[in-house]
């Protein structure tokens, strides 16, 4: 009888104040991070990317954040039942010219999907193209429903950031945001922010095959900030090319492990 009354009270609270007002312990996300098997795991300080929290990959211009994000997406399609890309900018379409960055001078008409590695599990992948306003609601709905991985290609309206994080937290969704320069609200909502800046291009036999970029932990609410690292990011130019990995960590010329930012 008491159990029924308790269930009734819980239902009432959820209906009155939203489903996120009260969370059962059994519904809490698993504490284990998602091991992306990239150098980002070391930068996050928890040997993986946090589940149920927003991770930002930020950096102006061509700095490898999209290549890195698509590499994470390809890995996620193999590990999760649903990996969803929320394309808020509308430019994440095949054949659309790139509106920012410097790579266009090398690759011409830019197709973002050319950066997707060759081995994604296509049945798990879906792309949602919406305006920024409804995209927040869409991302929240999908996170609540239990999508394993959500890649946000742009910012989410401020009013949806709270529900989005709560929904992701309940389902243990890995949330990755890719932006040039995050707005104040988006930066505040993130638990892990990584800033990228390109240091040099990588050429092989007169062909552009990748870039070297500096990844810096700008904010970390899941572990102490660990400073920065230099990465070599290779474009996926063909399935048969003997690349060891699309993202490799290269030794820093001057290792400066310092606290990059305080917890916001």
């Amino acid at each position: 009888m008491q159990a029924a009354q308790l269930e009734h009270a819980i239902s009432t609270i959820r209906v009155r104040f939203g489903s996120q007002a009260l969370t059962r312990a059994a519904e809490l996300p698993p504490p284990q991070p998602w091991p992306s098997r990239t150098p980002l795991d070391r930068l996050s300080g928890i040997e993986g990317l946090p589940r149920g929290r927003l991770t930002l990959l930020a950096g102006s211009g061509t700095c490898g954040k999209l290549t890195l994000a698509l590499s994470l997406l390809a890995a996620a399609t193999r590990e999760f039942a649903h990996a969803v890309v929320i394309d808020t900018r509308g430019g994440f379409q095949k054949g659309s010219p790139r509106t920012h960055g410097e790579a266009s001078e090398f690759v011409g008409n830019f197709d973002p999907w050319s950066l997707l590695p060759f081995d994604p599990e296509l049945s798990s992948l879906a792309v949602v193209r919406l305006d920024p306003d409804p995209s927040g609601e869409a991302a929240t709905t999908l996170a609540r429903a239990g999508a394993g991985f959500i890649l946000l290609m742009g910012e989410v309206p401020e009013q949806w950031l709270g529900p989005l994080e709560a929904g992701a937290n309940r389902s243990g969704t890995v949330l990755i945001g890719v932006v040039d320069a995050p707005g104040r609200a988006f930066a505040h909502a993130s638990s892990l922010s990584l800033g990228f800046s390109r240091t040099e291009w990588v050429w092989d036999r007169d062909q552009l095959v990748g870039m070297k970029t500096t990844a810096r932990c700008l904010k970390n609410r899941v572990a102490p900030p660990l400073g920065e690292s230099e990465l070599e990011i290779r474009y996926p130019l063909g399935p048969g090319l003997p690349f060891k990995a699309p993202v490799m960590e290269v030794p820093l010329h001057a290792v400066e492990l310092e606290c990059a930012s305080a917890v916001v």
Binding site: S11, S114, L122, L125, A147
Partner: protein, 382 residues
Amino acid sequence: MRVCCGLTNHLELAKRPDLYGGPVVVGEWEEHVIAASEEASLFGVVPGMPLRQAGHLCPQATFLAPDPDAAANLRELISSALYDLAPVVEVRAEGIASIDVSGVVRSGESIREARRRLRAAIGREPRLGLAPGPFSARLAAARARPGRLMQVEDPRTFLAPLTSRELPLDEEQLERLDLLGLRTLGAVAAIGPRELESQLGREGRHAVLLARGAEPDELIAWRPPQFTCAHRQFEPAVEDREALLFVSRALCGDLAAELGLRGAGAKQVRVRLAYESNQPDERESIVRHPLSSQAELFGLIGQWIKEWQPRAPVTELWIELPVLEAAGRRQLRLWSGGDGNSEEVIAALERLQERHGDGVVSKPRPALLSSPLPTQRFDWVS
């Protein structure tokens, strides 16, 4: 196949249990007799004879006009009652209820329960027969005492001494069998199907197979109605959206429990709001994948109610699922995280498509996956 047949009264008679014990004849005036009780049969009244003749033979009988709707309702009632016991159920208006108990765990308990449910529905003890097919099971049931089961192991041996008038042939064909000297099912079984086919046509071949116990007929399986609904009346009328959400969540829970029992999912969802004075509002949608859980149903309906602008206080809320189909049962992908939530994510994507158009969600379709040209590796489909 292992068929249990329960013989009861004709369903036209069963709808008036208060007349049990006396002669009852059902039929339209100037037409033929549809059903006659056992007491009326003692006076020579049989189904198919003119009702006027039945009136002469048994003037003291109660004559009833047929009510096909009531009989059909009773048939549905009995079918749904027996459907829990075995997957294949057939109930005929003549009072023949058959269930296929082959493969049913503890078939004896199912047969006992079928007897109890038939008795509750009809008001009389059924006669039960168990045989490898519907024909021999029906004949066995006809020879059992009320409330008892006659079991047939070897149908050919059981059928051999029975009269050939038990075969489903018309009067002319039965007279012809009589002229041919085929007066028992054993005699019919002894000749070849082709020989009797040359005499009686296709029915002749069918009759030989029946007489041999080959059981060429299958049961016509009853299917439960593909519709369900739940509703709640509000007294006094409700204006609060939160209250509507609360009630709709509870109704979704009830419907999900029922769908779970039936192993079904809703292919179409309709919500109606009745107002104090105005015409009711209605919204419906066809979903791509059947919704079966409370979360899936409420995900769609709750969204509608949040968007709804009721014109007046709401007096009644209806949630109807007019089209049901088998709920998809998937094999989980063993190594994929969160695959248990896959249906809910798919339902969420479908709701996005319903609201913003099909083009909102696209999925890649493999093309030339090994091509070094990115544009050839996959296409996008909505």
